[in-house]
Symmetry: C2
Subunit: 239 residues, 2 copies
DNA sequence: CGAAATCGTGACTGAACAGTCAGAATATCT
DNA sequence: AGATATTCTGACTGTTCAGTCACGATTTCG
């Protein structure tokens, strides 16, 4: 079997490469275990910096192993292919995102008025900012390739993007049903919020250091809340 | 000279490929001219659909010429390489965008109050919607690869993205200076507006047909204006 | 119509690439 | 320490790809 690049192989039947380091030999404390973690981390880290510089598709396995200081054969002991590597790189984002979405929905469940909306969204934004800056490089990669087609090595990023969009839509629908936001098509408000937050994060991570200030996140919140808030509550936010 | 893929060649000194169809022989009316246009269009169209499906980097010249029904040598008579092709594909977007930005700025120059802001932005949005739906496939490609690194075949898209960001920032600063929008960091409001509009456009173009309704654009405007409007003017938008 | 140019073609080249594998190196266990 | 299993290594293979070029087809122009 030889697939050359990631050009539409999509034929793998069951995944499960014959050999992958599950946790076969010396567990946890051993030198084997430490080596494994170090190697996987070196590969992921080298990939990440290369992919941020030149894009996921342009980076080759040879470059990755060269930069990571590892033999090519070793790569395939840890990852089935580039798509598998990308999946491993972005995987740490999903859980904290999902949990923050869930906590925000729970907070909205208890919300009775507009100030509860502000509180719930404020907490949500703070949590998201934590995730974004804790996983800066990975989030940059996600943002960079976020709208990639669902095929090829960028598929895991596209999957995560779909998850974010769906979660945001669910949240927006929920808030709207409970009368916390202006009535209207929740797909629009969800898209606006996701697009605005992600683009701002992209700027903050890729460029301007000064955009990382907490006041920037506050400004985003104020703008979004004023745009989305249910009419009838107090007018615009107090600056 | 052989560069294999677009892997960091970046060595070209002066561009200007030895032979490219400027307008050498039979001008304008001739059969040559018609053939040229038809071929270039076939290549661009084939590229566009392939790139939308699998991404700019994954598509090969062989696939493009095969789909376009053209010999490989002909490709290189029309485009220097894939980057050149991408530049030709997205080029038609820049002019209308620039002109809309300029018209919007001019409208803001004449604006005296909040309703002028709404009028200027409303017209701007209508013009943008026109561009977006007139060049649907190209805009989809732009949105798909918008945050790509500035190297490689996606560079022309990254350039266009920088242009959009810079223009939006200029517009936001201008509106803010004139007191038409809430005081604050214009980088934030510009990022919010661009991110929101582009993400919504991405949804409308890639997915849901129903998001193409003009009422959706109106909803976007209302949300953004309420989030951005200078305090002191009338409260939230009338529905 | 015939000459002179441009244009189209597709086989060809050299290089880069993904993925493999036999043997060397290393860790673990007794 | 010795035996055994796992892991690392990098040379190797077959393929794919970008870019070229000599030649035949087509168009233009006198």
């Amino acid at each position: 079997m030889q697939t050359r690049k990631s050009r539409r192989p999509r034929v793998q039947v069951e995944a499960a490469p014959s050999v992958l380091p599950t946790e076969r030999p010396g567990q946890e404390g051993g030198k084997r275990d430490a080596n494994r973690k170090a190697r996987a981390a070196a590969l992921a880290s080298a990939s990440l910096s290369l992919m941020l510089q030149r894009g996921v598709e342009a980076v080759t396995i040879d470059e990755i192993v060269s930069k990571a200081g590892v033999a090519k054969g070793s790569f395939y002991r840890y990852f089935r292919d580039k798509e598998d590597l990308v999946r491993a790189i972005v995987a740490p984002l999903e859980r904290p995102l999902r949990e923050s979405f869930e906590r925000c929905k729970a907070a909205l469940s208890d919300a009775r008025a507009a100030e509860s909306l502000a509180a719930a969204y404020g907490l949500f934004a703070a949590e998201l900012a934590g995730v974004i800056f804790a996983h800066g490089a990975v989030v940059r990669l996600y943002l960079q390739e976020r709208r990639a087609p669902g095929e090829g090595p960028r598929a895991p990023i596209a999957d995560l993007a779909r998850f974010v969009d769906a979660s945001a839509l669910e949240l927006a629908s929920f808030a709207c049903q409970r009368g916390l936001t202006r009535p209207g098509d929740s797909r629009v408000s969800a898209a606006v919020v996701v697009g605005a937050a992600e683009h701002l994060a992209s700027m903050a991570l890729a460029g301007d250091e000064s955009l990382r200030d907490p006041s920037v996140a506050m400004e985003l919140i104020v703008i979004i809340l004023d745009g989305v808030r249910a009419t009838g509550s107090s007018a615009t936010s107090s600056a």
